[in-house]
């Protein structure tokens, strides 16, 4: 698996899109820092961007990479390698290179600005960890979609729809159900509803750490009241790990049973 990972990774970090993605974050980091002049404020702005953008890029890159390397995957399948190694290797190659673009792209400007001297270092690292998790989760989801759809257009469509649903529509539905059922106790419902959306989960994770009650919103407040900051952090990280593990397990399950 490590060999496949190595080659997928090197193939990707030489592609133009990885550079565009990296440069985008680099630019974003510098602009935000010099506009805000404050690391903590920049972290909050970044969170809003990362939480929407990282899943989108992870989804699109995952689907694109899978379809583009289809013939090559077939070549690998004929080699004496385990099937799961091929797919997991490619998956970690994509997710790894995206994560690297994110970490380096944002890390460089923040370090240059004096991150190590500021007290926002833990907040910032948590932001990057969340970004990495979102990349892992959405790349895994998109690999699953691509694996079960031979038709590229359909695969792309489903992947973008999934992103749209989790990033935008889900919140709308959530909010609407809160309004409709406002007569009822909704604590447990909103807790559960947050847990099953990795984007919401990441948002709350970062907001809990930043401790900005104004931005926490209803679910965040419930979350905080229920778990407290420390437990809340741990639980949301555990949930993110589960969110990564399940699509990955499903990916290997499907890959073992597919015809090429």
């Amino acid at each position: 698996m490590l060999k496949i990972l190595k080659y997928s990774f090197f193939d990707l970090i030489r592609s133009r899109w990885s550079y565009v993605y990296f440069l985008f974050y680099l630019l974003l980091g510098f602009v935000l820092l010099f506009l805000n002049n404050d690391v903590s404020k920049a972290v909050i702005t970044l969170m809003n961007i990362i939480i929407v953008l990282v899943p989108l890029i992870g989804t699109i890159f995952g689907v694109m990479y899978y379809y583009n390397s289809k013939e090559f995957t077939e070549l690998l399948l004929a080699q004496p390698i385990r099937r799961t190694s091929i797919f997991l290797g490619q998956y970690f190659g994509v997710a790894g290179s995206l994560t690297m673009s994110l970490v380096l792209g944002l890390g460089i400007p923040f370090v240059m600005y004096g991150l190590f001297k500021s007290d926002a270092i833990f907040d910032f690292s948590l932001l990057l960890v969340t970004g990495a998790f979102l990349t892992l989760i959405f790349t895994a989801l998109s690999f699953n979609i691509a694996l079960s759809n031979e038709n590229k257009i359909k695969g792309f469509g489903y992947a973008v729809l999934l992103w749209l649903f989790l990033a935008v529509i889900y919140d709308g539905l959530f909010l609407m159900s809160l309004i409709i059922f406002k007569e009822y106790p909704l604590d447990t419902f909103s807790l559960a509803a947050t847990m099953i959306n990795p984007i919401d989960l990441s948002r709350i994770l970062i907001l809990l750490e930043l401790d900005i009650s104004a931005l926490l919103g209803y679910t965040g407040a419930v979350f905080k009241k229920f778990f407290g900051t420390q437990t809340g952090l741990i639980i949301s990280i555990v949930m993110l790990v589960i969110w990564t593990a399940i699509p990955l397990w499903w990916l290997t399950y499907k890959a073992k049973r597919k015809d090429f």
Binding site: K3, S8, E71
Partner: protein, 236 residues
């Protein structure tokens, strides 16, 4: 070498293989022929473990291939469509496949043979179809495996390379290897193959040598003999 028993495979409602029995014991060159969509590639991919049959067993060198991947160390495979990661250079791709297989290889001789030196440092996305096929051939023939599977090896090759390819196939045959080939170019098949395996509607319709085939169909050349089998089936 290869034993296939009662192999069934369908994709959805489309039944591709319906009870293939095939034993390939001896060395030599076996041409797997059949009309478009008759299941040649599916059969080959089943042997490689890329397609998972619903029923039936395949053993390669005595080992059942189900849930097994080690046996592929014995097989060199040339896929039908040569498409590689575009950002890799030819040299890196060859190094990568060598790295994956960890076997002695003789790529240098093949690179010289197919005159690929000027392309070694080019990215694969910039190569023409024929050049990609040459790279594909180098990747297949650089290892020394007892079983070689070639799916449409002649696609996109110029005459000079085609001659080299035939030479290579003959060389491997003389080393006592078993070679499976699918092709629609009958002239090529007639030149290289010892045994014809003809698949029709998911079953082995004919297995034997070229003279036997010509005798059975009362035709003088292979192309007409093959066409005659397909027609005979249609009239029956």
């Amino acid at each position: 070498m290869i034993h296939i028993k009662e192999l069934h495979k369908s994709f959805g409602k489309n039944k591709v293989l319906s009870g293939i029995d095939l034993d390939i014991e001896t060395n030599g060159i076996f041409a797997v022929l059949g009309p478009n969509g008759s299941g040649k590639t599916t059969l080959i991919k089943s042997i490689l473990g890329m397609v998972l049959p619903q029923k039936g067993t395949i053993t390669v060198n005595g080992a059942p291939i189900k849930k097994n991947w080690k046996y592929r160390e014995q097989i060199d495979y040339l896929p039908q469509i040569a498409n590689f990661p575009g950002n890799l250079k030819v040299r890196e791709l060859i190094r990568m496949i060598k790295d994956l297989r960890r076997k002695p290889s003789e790529e240098q001789r093949l690179i010289t043979l197919f005159q690929l030196e000027p392309f070694m440092d080019k990215r694969l996305s910039t190569l023409s179809g024929g050049t990609k096929q040459k790279v594909n051939i180098v990747l297949t023939f650089m290892f020394d495996c007892p079983l070689i599977v070639l799916d449409e090896p002649t696609t996109g090759l110029d005459p000079a390379s085609l001659i080299h390819l035939k030479g290579l196939i003959r060389e491997e045959k003389e080393k006592g290897k078993t070679i499976l080939i699918t092709s629609h170019i009958m002239q090529f098949v007639a030149e290289v193959a010892n045994t014809i395996v003809y698949i029709l509607e998911g079953k082995i319709y004919f297995k034997g040598s070229i003279p036997e085939l010509k005798e059975q169909t009362r035709q003088n050349d292979l192309e007409h003999a093959i066409a005659a089998i397909a027609n005979a089936k249609n009239h029956a």
